[in-house]
């Protein structure tokens, strides 16, 4: 912690010194822009589009790690990466893409390692209660992702190639065409790597034997990540048509195919030649929309189809050199949906909105092939459908230019079960117009329905599960000020408190499998804060953004046993403190970026005991990159070199899963001129 504070102080000191210089030269200039009605009371973290564009090679998981206060739990590149807000679980984070929820209806969560930053043009986080404006079920919050038209005139081609450590190869291609009516874009991302990064395995030792099989020596082996290769391909086609009558037609189709091995644990004594542990996925998301802006009304209608096929194979050499399945899971998911949304603003002080989304899921999940008692074969799995409906109405009122009030009422239905009404209230008041300082407060109830696996997975699914429920309130303050035409400062700080009941946990049973149960009552509370400064000089721009979160997430359930020591303790795997800093210096066509993040020590036991076998110490991570753009007669070229895990830190984010040490990647980008 001392090191963290030292560093944060040093960085802030630099920023303060820079700002101090400026204040002497230039009188402060204050701009109070009118806040959008839709943002009344919202606690929203909007990701800088520069962060998305600069991080071309990253998944959204990496972007969120460095640019927001959420906790990203990752097993490494191209492995499951989940996002959790405010000490809640990944399934408490709802994710939308172009307005439609993309959390897996089977698992209830989103794997952010499957979302390339290159495909996202606009991203925002809606914290806590604010997520009710977007969707239900976001007990921690929601992540809103979107693609947007480029408003391009003519043709543009961008191609970026990256070559990195461990045999990693990344390719990015975007073909775009636009005129006053049409905007077309085709994007492709390919990422492959054997991903065999070296690490010191401190969880096991290699033995040195003598001729009589006695151990005469031991050492921690230096191993390479085993069974960690990946091969991902993403394609995104976008079409936008604006006929000029106030309407806009849009269509996006996103295809994703991955073939990933699942890395062996550090405690695994098997050999990769004996086993294959592989996950494959194909996902298609298509979304078609029509938006119309007409005076006081804005309406949007959308429909689409999503399909996912997932395969998990765990195979073993049966002694004859042929890999034979030990587990062969297959799941197929089809979702069709329709959505309508309207806004009506009869007066600049009033805004009314209404939205409704209907989804129908069809899931077939097969987990195991077995021989029945009568000798016939059968598969263990489930085949279910579920209809989901979510609708909301809201009224937003700004009685004075400095005050805003908003109420949202949302109702949701899963299968044949209706959630109780989900209400949310928001209020804000400008307390210092010179600093655009706004006091905000909000309160809401929320419910999250169990996922289809929670209910029906065999073995273990529990159809008797109740929805998780949450009650959350937030108070906070945001500010933004242009201290001069060169220096900008903005930030926010929020206190939140969430009470979550009937938390669903998958736990072992005495029958040898896991089963979900409503077991916990959790109080998550704490502070989220952000500070961002930007200083523009004639040839150089300095940009510094930092996040800090303190998020205790405390088990308040009754003891499950006389021996239970977990009551009043922090939930396992949830860090109490996290921080990140991104510093950028743009000098003419040079761009130097430094990224740093910190997660405090995490508990692996609900009793918060620290053991030798269950330690997840705090860690700091530093990445730097340097890029340069060059314009020649026939093209714009860009060169970028990045160094990740700059200090070659040996760390783990999840027990028994090693993370890579220092590694490098070099990118060349070409945008031809036509």
């Amino acid at each position: 912690m001392k090191r963290l504070l030292t560093f944060v102080c040093a960085v802030l000191f630099c920023a303060a010194m820079s700002a101090q210089d400026l204040r002497l030269d230039v009188p402060g200039v204050t701009v109070l822009s009118e806040r959008p009605m839709k943002s009344i009371g919202l606690h929203e973290t909007r990701l800088d589009t520069t962060a998305l564009q600069e991080s071309i090679a990253l998944s959204m998981a990496d972007i969120l790690t460095y640019n927001t206060s959420v906790f990203v739990k990752s097993h490494g590149r191209a492995t499951l990466s989940t996002v959790a807000f405010r000490g809640t679980s990944p399934s408490h984070t709802q994710v939308t893409w172009n307005g439609i929820g993309i959390n897996s209806p089977m698992l209830g969560m989103t794997d952010f390692s499957t979302i390339p930053a290159y495909f996202i043009d606009d991203a925002a986080l809606l914290h806590g209660t604010s997520s009710v404006n977007l969707t239900g079920g976001g007990l921690g919050g929601a992540v809103r992702l979107a693609t947007v038209p480029q408003h391009l005139e003519g043709t543009r081609v961008q191609y970026v190639q990256g070559i990195g450590s461990f045999g990693t190869a990344d390719e990015y291609l975007r073909l775009s065409y636009g005129n006053d009516k049409w905007q077309l874009s085709t994007r492709a991302v390919s990422a492959t790597s054997p991903n065999r990064y070296p690490y010191r395995n401190r969880d096991k030792k290699e033995n040195i034997y003598d001729d009589t099989h006695h151990i005469i020596g031991q050492y921690y082996p230096k191993e390479k990540n085993r069974s960690g290769s990946f091969n991902d391909l993403h394609l995104l086609q976008e079409v936008y048509y604006t006929p000029g009558d106030g309407g806009c037609w849009g269509g996006q189709v996103w295809y994703f195919a991955s073939n990933r091995e699942i890395p062996l644990l550090t405690t695994d004594y098997g050999t990769t030649s004996d086993f294959e542990n592989r996950q494959r996925e194909e996902t298609l998301r298509s979304h078609f929309s029509y938006t119309r802006n007409g005076g006081q009304f804005k309406t949007e209608a959308a429909a689409g189809y999503m399909h996912t096929w997932m395969a998990y194979d765990y195979k073993r050499d049966a002694g004859n050199g042929i890999l034979t399945p030990m587990t062969r899971s297959r799941s197929t998911l089809h979702t069709i949906y329709g959505q309508a949304e309207t806004e009506y603003s009869p007066h600049h002080e009033w805004l009314f909105t209404a939205d409704v989304t209907a989804r129908q899921h069809f899931v077939r999940s097969v987990d195991k092939n077995i021989i029945l008692q009568d000798g016939n074969r059968a598969v263990v799995g489930y085949d279910k459908g579920r209809f989901e409906l979510s609708g909301a109405v809201s009224g937003k009122w700004r009685p004075t230019p400095l005050t805003g009030l908003s109420v949202v009422l949302r109702e949701e239905m899963y299968g044949d079960e209706w959630a109780p009404l989900i209400p949310a209230l928001f209020a804000e008041h400008v307390i210092a117009s010179g600093w655009s300082a706004v006091l905000q407060a909000s309160v809401s109830r929320n419910y999250r329905f169990p996922s289809l696996n929670d209910l029906f997975f065999l073995p273990g699914g529990n159809p008797a599960l109740k929805p998780e429920s949450g009650f959350t309130w937030d108070v906070g303050m945001t500010f933004a000020r242009d201290l001069s035409d060169k220096l900008h400062l903005d930030g926010n700080v929020n206190w939140f408190s969430s009470q979550i009941d009937d938390w669903i946990l998958w736990l072992p049973t005495t029958k040898g499998f896991f089963s979900p149960r409503n077991v916990r009552k959790v109080h998550a509370y704490g502070i989220e804060s952000q500070l961002h400064g930007r200083w523009q000089r004639p040839h150089v721009t300095w940009d510094l953004a930092g996040n800090f979160s303190w998020t205790p997430s405390v088990n308040q359930s009754d003891p499950v046993s006389p021996a239970d020591q977990s009551v009043g303790k922090q939930l396992p795997y949830v860090p109490e403190r996290s921080a990140s800093v991104v510093g950028q210096m743009i000098l003419k066509k040079w761009n130097f970026t430094y990224k740093w993040c910190y997660y405090s020590r995490r508990h692996t036991m609900s009793s918060n005991d620290f053991t030798l076998t269950g330690q997840l110490p705090a860690y700091f991570m530093s990445d730097i990159s340097l890029s340069r753009s060059v314009s020649v007669r026939w093209a714009d070229l860009s060169f970028r070199a990045s160094v990740e895990n700059l200090f070659d830190e040996e760390y783990i984010s999840v027990l028994a899963h090693p993370m890579p040490g220092i590694h490098y990647e070099f990118f060349i980008g070409i945008t031809p001129r036509w």
């Binding site: 096991k204 151990i215 489930y382 977990s566 999840v654």
Partner: protein
Amino acid sequence: MHDLHRFFRFFLLSCACLLNAGCMEWEDGRTEDFRDLTQGEGLYILCEGNFQYGNASLSYYNTGTRRVENEVFYRANGMKLGDVAQSMVIRGGVGWVVVNNSHVIFAIDLKTFKEIGRITGLTSPRYIHFVSDTKAYVTQIWDNRIFIVNPETLEVTGHILCPDMTMESGSTEQMVQWGRYVYVNCWSYQNRILKIDTETDEIVGSLTVGIQPTSLVMDCRHKLWTVTDGGYEGSPYGYEAPSLYRIDAETFAIERQFRFKKGDAPSEVQLNGAGDTLYWINDDIWRMDVRSEALPAQPFLPRRGTLYYGLTVHPDNGEVYVADAVDYQQAGMIYRYSPQCVRRDSFYVGIIPGAFCWKKP
């Protein structure tokens, strides 16, 4: 030029700050000497840990001094035990610890807990049974083979192919020996007890019982006892009321079936040292004379908000040791009871204590 200087100053300052930002701290395995602790009789307690987290551990309880030491494998060897510690047996003064999802069996010194060897090349080992000093069987899940290993050379020397099983549906569990035959219960999506001739290493018999026999013991009269869990609701393999079976080892035939209620989940059949009293878990702890012809009406030890997961009986004095897994995410508790069900001690161990192994003085 001025800006270029600023650029490099920023770069250098950043580096200086970063150097101060520190790193994750590792404690490289210091090892401890446990010789003083392990004098006399003791109980090894295997704690499974959480699947896929590699946090299994081994605890040791000195029954005389009532002193418990946790994570003794890590502390003695400076490395982790692995992922899902399943079972342990003692043979010839050596402890053999089967670590299921680490695909390894460790041989440890009983006094120091130090590793003295390991058997690898396994699929998903569950239990090890010694036929002789040079031959042992290793049962597995998700494999239709029982591996034959040589404990002296630590090598896999062969396997026994189980009939009517595929790799995917393969499951063999606990083993008991009567004469030249070893009996094995087949659990996951299975309903059989297999009989192996140890001289030919072949399956020579198969007996159908109820759905998913979980455990197997042999009493003082050479009767095999197994308890089924009955499967689960929705299972294509079937779902039925679990049963406790008494099987004559010689005729390899079911003598008696004791039915539980549908939905019960009995497991962990154990015997006392004399082999005349059975114990098992079915929410509560139950006890029954092996000569009884009916299930007991009252439990030996009622559940009191506990989650009983493991069970053993002292081979000499009949004391009952019960493991409470609590919420499966924290240190489990071991309760020590007299044969009259008077609590004599309790102590915390590792995560999900599930198996025990007795060490004689």
